[in-house]
């Protein structure tokens, strides 16, 4: 029996990141880290106190995204991260895994 991972394993979540965020350095960092994990990503809002990030992919990988973002780059202090279901549109969503 072969386990086939397909799009049905994927979920969409909105990640709300609060803290002292230097978005000039954090947004490119987020983009790279999400790309490394192969997650669909859309930034819905960003200022130096709050980022709303919509993610699509397997839950385990979204979880790794949260853990990575908790530390983030050196000039960013992340206070909290919350995750909730979302229905965002992903223009660049991956169609294959």
């Amino acid at each position: 029996m072969v386990m086939v991972q397909d799009k049905t394993d994927e979920i969409q979540q909105r990640m709300t990141i609060l803290g002292e965020l230097d978005i000039a350095s954090f947004l490119p960092w987020i983009h790279r880290h999400a790309a490394k994990l192969g997650l669909g990503q859309t930034v819905a809002h960003a200022d130096d106190a709050r980022i709303e990030l919509d993610l699509r992919g397997p839950e385990a990988l979204i979880d790794m995204m949260e853990i990575g973002c908790l530390l983030g780059p050196i000039d960013v202090w992340v206070e909290t991260i919350a995750r909730a279901p979302c229905n965002a549109q992903f223009p660049n969503a991956k169609t294959t895994v």
């Binding site: 960092w29 490394k36 990575g68 530390l71 050196i74 992340v78």
Partner: protein, 286 residues
């Protein structure tokens, strides 16, 4: 957050272990603290004396079997370990293990349980029991320490006194940038925790002396066996630590993919970053 002088000062003003009280002598131990050569000795009256560059007298405290000193002006006392005053415990000075790695890396490795089955095979862990169950890790604002709790792991031989495999529960605490205290299931006394500490003396940013110390409920095991067991564990860690790349502990996880099993390491590194504790750290991922 990355001001160089502020960052250098933050760690300079902390207490560090620099030797064993039981090994103090008149001649003195020639060692180093954050790049500065120091001598740890006792004077004619038997008082512990730590001397830095050009003969300057450094602050001294004696606690938990060790001599502690600082290159700067510590604003706080050495962190408390209430179990050190608890009757019935045996206190074990394990001695020193020199490791060619960042002092922060040595602490991070101590906090990591995922390596048990692979590095301490058939002792602190064994295949196929390699899964790290979810646990809690946080920076506790009231005490300003890193705590990881509800850490559970199957161990074939959890301690020198353990006679078979048990699921061990751990709690980790980081009260100072290069010190960690581990609380571990105590087989002879289910209501108590064994205490195993890792006190790390930063010799340089990429070199440290590791001084483990224990406060155990164990009346059976010979002292030399307790010491040998713990030394064996740390020698297994040393070979891993000396091969880690990069040498310094990255405070930006950009080159790694940390997972939930690494939550204690993430909490530790967030706490280091928050306090400008960056001696032995790499600030930018590369």
């Amino acid at each position: 957050m990355t001001d160089d002088t502020a960052s250098a000062q933050a760690m300079t003003d902390e207490w560090y272990p620099v030797g064993l009280i039981s090994q103090l002598d008149k001649t003195g131990r020639q060692t180093a603290l954050m790049g500065e050569p120091i001598v740890v000795a006792h004077d004619a009256d038997g008082q512990a004396l730590v001397t830095g560059h050009n003969g300057r007298r450094l602050p001294v405290k004696l606690r938990y079997g060790h001599v502690w000193s600082s290159l700067g002006t510590p604003k706080k006392d050495i962190f408390a370990i209430p179990e050190a005053d608890q009757p019935g415990r045996r206190f074990v000075d394990v001695g020193v293990v020199r490791v060619r790695c960042s002092p922060l890396r040595a602490v991070e490795n101590f906090l990591d349980i995922a390596h048990f089955p692979f590095v301490h095979t058939d002792v602190l862990g064994a295949e196929p029991h390699t899964e790290v169950l979810n646990y809690t890790a946080e920076i506790r604002p009231d005490v300003d320490e890193v705590w990881a709790t509800e850490v559970k792991f199957y161990q074939p031989q959890a301690s020198k006194s353990a006679s078979g495999g048990i699921t061990t529960e751990y709690m980790y605490r980081v009260p100072a940038p290069t010190c960690s205290v581990l609380y571990k299931t105590c087989p002879p006394r289910p209501t108590e925790w064994d205490v195993i500490t890792l006190f790390v003396q930063p010799l340089a940013e990429d070199l440290c002396d590791v001084w483990p110390w224990m406060a155990l409920f164990d009346d059976e095991t010979a002292m030399t066996d307790l010491i040998h067991f713990q030394q064996m564990i740390f020698l297994q860690d040393r070979s891993i630590l000396e091969n880690q790349v990069p040498r310094l502990l990255p405070l930006d996880p950009g080159m790694e993919i940390p997972t939930r099993a690494d939550l204690t390491s993430i909490a530790y590194r967030r706490w280091l970053k928050r306090h400008n504790y960056t001696y032995g750290a790499q600030l930018v991922a590369r």
